[in-house]
C-alpha cells in the first residue's frame, strides 16, 4: 500500500484541472445565456406566455348605393375545445365524432394539442340541432360559441359581382375577394399570461386588444336596377332557351356600374352546389366574343371625329363592297341602295362602315380602337377580367381593316364595349368602370373613403359625341334598333349580332346577339348592354336583345325619375308597329262631343256629370295608339 505512486496523483491532478476547466465553461455558458441572450430569450418566451383568446372582427356589410343590404352576417354555432379543461379526451372525441360526423382520431389529436383553445374539426358553422346536441352532453372543455357567416338576403342576386367567402370568412371570389382586406377588419384578442396547460398564471395582468370590424362597402349598384337586369335575363333564358346571357347597366357620365348580371347564376350561400365554371365566370368581364355591329359605334365615332364622313353625305350600297379582290357582303343581300351616311348607321350597313374604315386607314382606326380601350383591361374592380384580342397592326391588310370596321375578327369583353360606348356618348371621355363606391365605418357609419370617377382619356370631341348620340337615337327611332324605342325617352342604341367562333371558323347556326342602348339621347343617364348567347328561338339582336334593353331602360328611367323629353326623333311607322299619338286636351269639353271624335283613343269614364273636369294622361303626352284615356266627369258650373 505504500507504493502510493506519483503517477496516480499526477493524473488525478490533471483530472482536477480538466474538471475545473469544464466547470468554468459551464459558468461561462450560463453567463452567456443569461446575460447576453437573456433579452432575446425573454422576448421569445413572452410570445409563449401570452396566450390569446381571439375576438374575431365582424366582416363588413355590402350595401347598394342607397344603403340596401346585399350581404350581411348572421350568427352560427361553432364548437371549440379548451384542451386543459378536458377530463377524458378519448370519450370526448368519440362523442363529438358521432355528432359531427368527423374522424375520431382527428378530433382527439386536435383537442389534446398543447394549446389554449382549438377549433374542433368538423365543428365549424354547424346546424342549431347539432349545437344543441353537443350542449346537452355538457362535456368539460367543449364549448359552443357563436361564429359568424355571410348571409345574402336577396339570394341569387348580383352573385358574380358580390362573390362569396370561404369557411374562414375569407373572400374567395368577386368583391368579397378583391376587397377582402377592407371587409375583413382586424381580429382582436384578450391576451393573458398562462401556463402551457392553459391556466392563468398568477401575478400577471391581462391585455385586451379590441377587434376592428371590417368596413361597410357601399356599391355603385342600385338594387332596383339590378333587379330589372335579373328579371329580364331570367325572362330571356326562358324565352330564348339561350346558353348564357349577361347584362350591364352603367352611368355613362361617371363609369359607375348600376347593375351587372350573368346567367347561369347561383346562390352565393350554396355556391358549392354549382360547378365552378358558373361561379368563377363573371360573364360581363370575362366573356370575350366578336362584338358584331355594336362595334360600329367605334368606327362611326372615329370617322366623325376625324371628319372623314358626314352624316348627310350620300352612299350607295349594292349589297357588298370589294376589298382587295374580296367581296365583303352587307347583311342585307340585295343591298340598301342609295342612302345617307346617317341611314348607313340606321341600317347597320356593312359596306358603309367599311368605307368609313377605309377613309380612316388602318393606323387611325386602330389608334381609335386602342384609345377607346379595346385590347386592355378596363381596370374595373373585379377579378377575372379579360383583355380581348385585336389584330396586330402589322398584320392588318385591307380585308382585316374592312371586317374590323363592322366588328368582325376582333374579340372584346362586354365591359370594354360599355366603357367605349360610354365614352362615345358622354362627350368623349373614357372612364374606368367601378363598383365599390364608398367605404364606411361599421359602427359609426361615417364615410372612410370614396371612389371618385377616373377619366382615362378624352377620346373624341364633345361635338363628335353629340353627333354619335344623334345617329344612335336615329338607329332606334328609324333603323335596326326600333324594338328599343320608348316614347318620350329618346333612346339611342345599336344592335349586334355575331356568329360564334367555333373551332377556328364560324358556327353557321350559333349567334351571340347583343344590344347596347342608352337614354335620354340629349343627356344620357344610363347605358345598358345585354348579350344573349345562342338563343334558340330567335336569332336577331333586333328581336331578342333590343326589347330586353327597352324593358330595362323603361323600368330604370321611370325608377330614376328621368323626365320625358321633347324633340325626340319621331319613330318611323312601319306596318305592324303601333303608332303614337298625342293626347288632346279634353278638359271642359262635353262628354257627348268627345265620344264621337276620338275613336282611336278609348275612354275610361269615371264620375258623374256631363263635362270633363280631369284627364289622364295630360294633354300633349304621347301614348300608343289604342291606349285608354281616363276622364273624370263633373258639372262645369261647379268648377
Amino acid at each position: 500500500m505504500r507504493v502510493s505512486n506519483v503517477t496516480v496523483r499526477r493524473r488525478i491532478f490533471i483530472a482536477l484541472i480538466i474538471g475545473t476547466v469544464l466547470y468554468a465553461s459551464l459558468i461561462t455558458r450560463l453567463g452567456y445565456v443569461q446575460l447576453a441572450q437573456g433579452q432575446w430569450l425573454q422576448d421569445e418566451a413572452g410570445k409563449l406566455w401570452g396566450r390569446n383568446i381571439p375576438f374575431i372582427a365582424q366582416r363588413g356589410k355590402i350595401l347598394d348605393r342607397n344603403g340596401n343590404v346585399l350581404v350581411t352576417n348572421i350568427s352560427v354555432p361553432s364548437v371549440w375545445a379548451i384542451p386543459a379543461q378536458i377530463k377524458d379526451p378519448k370519450s370526448t372525441a368519440k362523442q363529438l365524432a358521432v355528432i359531427l360526423g368527423e374522424n375520431e382520431d382527428k378530433i382527439y389529436q386536435e383537442i389534446t394539442k398543447r394549446a389554449l383553445i382549438r377549433r374542433v374539426p368538423g365543428g365549424r358553422k354547424i346546424s342549431e340541432e347539432k349545437a344543441r346536441e353537443i350542449q346537452k352532453l355538457a362535456l368539460p372543455g367543449i364549448q359552443v360559441a357563436e361564429d359568424s357567416k355571410r348571409f345574402y338576403p336577396e339570394g341569387a342576386f348580383a352573385s358574380h359581382v358580390l362573390g362569396f367567402t370561404g369557411i374562414d370568412n375569407q373572400g374567395l371570389t368577386g368583391l368579397e375577394r378583391i376587397y377582402d382586406q377592407f371587409l375583413k377588419g382586424t381580429d382582436g384578442h384578450v391576451s393573458f399570461p398562462s401556463d402551457a396547460r392553459g391556466r392563468l398564471m398568477p401575478g400577471e395582468s391581462d391585455t385586451y386588444v379590441p377587434p376592428i370590424n371590417g368596413m361597410d362597402m357601399y356599391l355603385t349598384i342600385d338594387s332596383n336596377i339590378q333587379r330589372f337586369l335579373e328579371r329580364e335575363l331570367d325572362q330571356a333564358m326562358v324565352t330564348f332557351l339561350a346558353d348564357d346571357a349577361l347584362a350591364i347597366a352603367m352611368d355613362p357620365n361617371t363609369g359607375e356600374i348600376l347593375g351587372m348580371a350573368s346567367r347561369p347564376t347561383y346562390d352565393p350561400s350554396s355556391y358549392k352546389d354549382v360547378p365552378q365554371e358558373i361561379y368563377n365566370r363573371n360573364l360581363p368581364i370575362w366573356k370575350t366574343f366578336e362584338p358584331g355591329s355594336t362595334f360600329k359605334i367605334v368606327t362611326l365615332a372615329a370617322a366623325l371625329n376625324e371628319g372623314v364622313v358626314s352624316l348627310d353625305e350620300g352612299f350607295y350600297d349594292p349589297g357588298y363592297i370589294m376589298v382587295a379582290g374580296a367581296r365583303l357582303r352587307c347583311w342585307k343581300r340585295q343591298g340598301h341602295g342609295q342612302e345617307t351616311m346617317l341611314e348607313v348607321v340606321e341600317n347597320s350597313c356593312n359596306p358603309g362602315f367599311v368605307t368609313m374604315g377605309q377613309r380612316l386607314g388602318k393606323e387611325r382606326l386602330f389608334s381609335y380602337i386602342d384609345k377607346f380601350g379595346f385590347g386592355h383591361k378596363t381596370g374595373i374592380d373585379l377579378n377575372g377580367e379579360e383583355n380581348g384580342v385585336m389584330f396586330k397592326l402589322n398584320r392588318v391588310g385591307p380585308v382585316e381593316l374592312g371586317t374590323t370596321s363592322f366588328g368582325q375578327g376582333v374579340s372584346v369583353t362586354p365591359i370594354q364595349q360599355m366603357a367605349a360606348v360610354a365614352a362615345a356618348i358622354n362627350g368623349g371621355k373614357l372612364l374606368k368602370p367601378y363598383i365599390a363606391k364608398e367605404w364606411r365605418d361599421g359602427v359609426t357609419h361615417s364615410v372612410v373613403g370614396r371612389t371618385e370617377p377616373v377619366e382615362v382619356r378624352q377620346v373624341i370631341t364633345p361635338e363628335t359625341s353629340a353627333k354619335v348620340r344623334y345617329a344612335l337615337e336615329s338607329v332606334v327611332a328609324k333603323g335596326t334598333g326600333r324594338n328599343a324605342f320608348i316614347e318620350g325617352y329618346r333612346v339611342g342604341g345599336k344592335t349586334g349580332t355575331a356568329q360564334k367562333a367555333k373551332g377556328g371558323g364560324y358556327s353557321a347556326s350559333e349567334f351571340i346577339v347583343s344590344f347596347i342602348g342608352f337614354a335620354p339621347a340629349d343627356d344620357p343617364k344610363i347605358l345598358v348592354y345585354v348579350a344573349v348567347d345562342n338563343p334558340k328561338t330567335a336569332a336577331f339582336a333586333s328581336t331578342v336583345t333590343a326589347p330586353l334593353v327597352r324593358n330595362i331602360l323603361e323600368s330604370a328611367l321611370q325608377y330614376m325619375k328621368v323626365p320625358k323629353r321633347e324633340g325626340q326623333i319621331e319613330r318611323e311607322y312601319r306596318y305592324g308597329d303601333s303608332q303614337y299619338v298625342e293626347v288632346p286636351n279634353l278638359l271642359g269639353m262635353k262628354i257627348d262631343e268627345v265620344a264621337g271624335s276620338y275613336y282611336t283613343l278609348p275612354l275610361d269614364v269615371a264620375g258623374e256629370g256631363s263635362y270633363i273636369v280631369k284627364q289622364s294622361p295630360a294633354a300633349g303626352e304621347k301614348v300608343q295608339e289604342g291606349s285608354k284615356i281616363r276622364i273624370y266627369l263633373g258639372d262645369k258650373t261647379s268648377n
Partner: protein
C-alpha cells in the same frame, strides 16, 4: 498498516449540506405548482425529498464512520449485485419515459443504474489497486479493467438510459486513466468510443432527434427541440439576479418535470446568474476538496475510490448543466443533491459518506 483516523473534511460536508438545502428549497419552488394541480398537494415532492435527504444524511453519517477499506471486500458482491439488478430491471422493470430503468418495490422505486454506478466504482477501484502494474498492458491490463464498466454500460444501454451509462463510463475511464493507463491506448479507445457513440446515436432515432434538436432547437420547437427551448426560456430571462425565489414562469408546465432533470433551469430563472454561479461554485468546491481527498488518500484503493465517487458527481454535474444550458444534447440525467431524486439522492449521499471517510485518513 497504520492509518490514523482524524476528522473528516468539513468543507465537503458543508458544501454537500448547502447543496442539499438549496435542493430542498428549489424542489419545493419548482414542484409546488405541478404538485398542487395534479396531486392536489403542493408539498408532495418536497416532503419526499426531505425524507430521502434525511435517509441520505443518515447513510452518509454511517458511511463516514465505516472505514473505507471494508468496501474492498464487499466490492465484488456489490458489482455482481449491480449486474443482477440490471438484468432484473430489464425483465420486470417499469418503463418511464421510454426507458425501463425503475424497479418498483411497493410505492418505492429504485434505479439499478444508480446503484451500479457505485458498484462499478468500488469494484474497479479494487481491481485497479490490485493490478496496477498491469494496467499499462493493453490485453492483460486495460482490456479486463474496461470490461468491468462496459458490461454494466451495455446492460444500462438496453434499458436504454444513455445518461446514466455515460456517467458510469465517464467515471470508469477517469479511474483507469488515473491508475496509469497508457495515453496511446486512451487515444485508441477515444476513437473507438467515438465510433461506438455514433453507432448508438444512429441506432436509436430519438437520440438523433436530440442531436439535431441540440444543434438547432428552433428547427422543431414543438418536438425534439422543445425541452432545450423551454429550458433556455427559463434561464435566459433570469438575467443577473433572477426573477426571485418562487417567481419562475417556466415551471408552469412549460418545462417538463421542472423539479427533476431541469431543476438547474429553475434555479437560474429564479436566482439568476448569481444564484446559478453560486451553485456551480459549490460544486467546484466539492470537486477540489474531493480531488484533494483522492490525491491524499493513504492507499491506491482510497485514491481511486475517492476519485470514482467525486468523478461520478462531477461528470453528472457537467452533463446536466451542459444539457439545460444547451451545450449538450438532451440526456436524461439528474443534478446531484439538487434534483428531486428519491433513491438516487440517498445513494449519492451514501457515496459522499464514503468520500468523507476516506478524507479522515488523508495524509
Amino acid at each position: 498498516m497504520t492509518k490514523v483516523r482524524t476528522a473528516p473534511d468539513f468543507v465537503i460536508l458543508f458544501a454537500t449540506l448547502c447543496l442539499l438545502g438549496i435542493g430542498i428549497v428549489m424542489v419545493y419552488s419548482a414542484s409546488a405548482v405541478f404538485a398542487e394541480n395534479i396531486l392536489h398537494d403542493p408539498y408532495y415532492f418536497v416532503k419526499r425529498q426531505i425524507i430521502f435527504a434525511l435517509l441520505g444524511i443518515t447513510a452518509m453519517y454511517i458511511m463516514m464512520n465505516i472505514d473505507y477499506w471494508v468496501w474492498k471486500k464487499w466490492a465484488k458482491v456489490g458489482y455482481m449485485a449491480s449486474i443482477g439488478l440490471l438484468v432484473v430491471v430489464l425483465l420486470v422493470g417499469i418503463e418511464v419515459n421510454g426507458s425501463k430503468s425503475w424497479l418498483g418495490i411497493g410505492s418505492f422505486g429504485i434505479q439499478p443504474g444508480e446503484f451500479a454506478k457505485f458498484g462499478v466504482v468500488a469494484f474497479l477501484a479494487r481491481w485497479l489497486s490490485d493490478r496496477q502494474k498491469e494496467i499499462v498492458l493493453f490485453r492483460k491490463g486495460l482490456m479486463p479493467a474496461l470490461a468491468i464498466p462496459v458490461v454494466c454500460f451495455g446492460l444500462i444501454m438496453l434499458q436504454p438510459d444513455l445518461g446514466t451509462g455515460t456517467v458510469l463510463m465517464g467515471a470508469a475511464i477517469l479511474m483507469i486513466f488515473a491508475a496509469g493507463a497508457r495515453i496511446s491506448h486512451y487515444l485508441f479507445f477515444a476513437f473507438l468510443g467515438l465510433v461506438g457513440f455514433a453507432g448508438l446515436v444512429i441506432s436509436a432515432p430519438y437520440r438523433m432527434d436530440r442531436i439535431t434538436a441540440f444543434i438547432d432547437p428552433w428547427s422543431d420547437p414543438r418536438g425534439a427541440g422543445y425541452q432545450i427551448i423551454q429550458s433556455l426560456y427559463a434561464i435566459g430571462p433570469g438575467g443577473l439576479f433572477g426573477l426571485g425565489l418562487g417567481q419562475s414562469r417556466q415551471k408552469f408546465a412549460y418545462l417538463p418535470e421542472p423539479y427533476n432533470d431541469f431543476i438547474f433551469s429553475i434555479i437560474a430563472e429564479e436566482l439568476g446568474f448569481i444564484g446559478g454561479t453560486f451553485v456551480l461554485l459549490l460544486f467546484l468546491l466539492l470537486l477540489w476538496r474531493g480531488m484533494r481527498v483522492a490525491i491524499t488518500a493513504p492507499d491506491l484503493f482510497g485514491n481511486l475510490l475517492a476519485l470514482g465517487i467525486i468523478g461520478t458527481i462531477a461528470v453528472q454535474v457537467i452533463i446536466n448543466v451542459g444539457v439545460v444550458t444547451g451545450m449538450f444534447p438532451v440526456t436524461g440525467i439528474t443534478l446531484p443533491f439538487l434534483s428531486y431524486g428519491g433513491s438516487s439522492l440517498t445513494l449519492v449521499l451514501t457515496g459522499m459518506g464514503v468520500l468523507l471517510n476516506i478524507s479522515r485518513f488523508s495524509r
